[in-house]
């Protein structure tokens, strides 16, 4: 884990054991990683691909839930024309190896021993490490109140849609609210829009409760939400961010 005096990390060979469609453009990939040491919700791995000519490309992917022994799950959103994500979603076959380094990232984590209320704000595939926290909360039997605000383009782009519906019903103390940027489902109140002050104010926690806030998604989205939270009086050091990159 991220205990301070662990040994340096090296790349290990992982193999694909299973893939599941989450949306038309996102898949959950289950990897077998021999010797996996376990991880905390919010941590990620670095995945490295090597071309036949020796060229290498590495990208980070969040761990989507608690490990099952040596099996870990990632959820990858295909970025058109990307170097790494289309390979993982379209080409990588069951049994094929990739190199993985991790778990890494000891800052953007939630520990079930924390008792403060939690606000999770996700943009697009930024829901992945936040879902790991939701799943870990349930697995630990934690009663810490969680609120998730999830911004997606359309209802069809919502990753983990069925599980979130089920958990919002069954996991006591978990609230889930959605923001749609392009197309909203029938019966949703309001017009599609980018996340704004009203969304964060209505579906978040008041700053006086001193919640821990985790914001994850495209860089611009994270920037907007972190600014809104600080503007609402949240302490910057209680707003943890994980930027995934340019757009989303």
């Amino acid at each position: 884990m991220s205990s301070p005096l662990a040994a340096p990390l090296t790349w290990r060979v992982a193999r694909l054991v299973e893939r599941r469609d989450e949306t038309p453009t996102a898949q959950t990939l289950v990897l077998d990683v021999p010797g996996w040491p376990g991880h905390l919700p919010g941590q990620h791995v670095d995945v490295r691909l090597t071309a036949p000519d020796g060229y290498q490309a590495a990208r980070s992917y969040s761990l989507a839930g608690p490990a099952e022994g040596e099996r870990v799950a990632l959820t990858v959103q295909r970025v058109p024309d990307g170097e790494v994500s289309p390979y993982l979603t379209d080409v990588w076959a069951t049994g094929d190896p990739v190199e993985v380094r991790g778990p890494v990232g000891g800052w953007f984590v939630w520990r079930p021993a924390e008792l403060a209320p939690v606000l999770l704000v996700a943009g697009g595939s930024g829901v992945v490490p936040l879902m790991a926290m939701v799943r870990a909360r349930r697995a630990a039997g934690s009663r810490v109140p969680f609120r998730l605000i999830y911004s997606a383009r359309t209802p069809a782009d919502v990753i983990y849609a069925d599980e979130l519906r089920r958990r919002a019903r069954d996991d006591h103390g978990l609230d889930v609210a959605y923001v749609y940027t392009r197309t909203a489902p029938k019966g949703w109140r309001g017009e599609p829009h980018r996340i704004g002050l009203a969304d964060v104010n209505t579906h978040g926690w008041p700053a006086e409760l001193e919640p821990l806030c985790y914001v994850c998604g495209p860089t611009g989205f994270v920037e907007t939400v972190a600014d809104l939270l600080v503007g609402l009086g949240h302490q910057p050091r209680r707003v943890r961010t994980e930027r995934f990159g340019p757009t989303g």
Binding site: S2, S3, P4, L5, A6, A7, P8, L9, T10, H44, V45, D46, A58, S60, R101, G102, V104, G105, G106, W107, F108, T219, G220, E223, R237, R240, T241, E242, R243, F244, G245, P246
Partner: protein, 90 residues
């Protein structure tokens, strides 16, 4: 790449853990330029420079630069006055 396209210092953990046995994303660092002290995970990391460049979130000066060659890695920390790393007693 637009000016917005940066990542958080939390992503430095993987690359730095090839060099160090500690998780520096959990460390505190002081900016040599403006004196701001905060988590290294809060730095802004630009990945499209040669190597990785991490800038202070307050003044945007470079605090850390990591360049990896085929057989060695350069770590330039001249923009960081100090790093404070949590170490368990004993």
């Amino acid at each position: 790449m637009t000016e917005m396209s940066y990542l958080d210092g939390n992503m430095l953990d993987g690359p730095l853990r090839e060099v160090f046995a500690v998780d520096l994303s959990g460390a505190t660092g002081r900016c040599a330029s403006c004196g701001t002290t905060g988590p290294m995970a809060g730095l802004r990391v630009y990945t499209h420079a040669p190597g990785l460049v991490a800038r202070c979130p307050s003044c945007a000066e470079v605090m850390l630069r990591l360049v990896r060659g085929p057989d060695r890695t350069w770590l330039d920390l001249r923009g960081t006055t100090y790093l404070q790393v949590p170490t368990p007693p004993g």
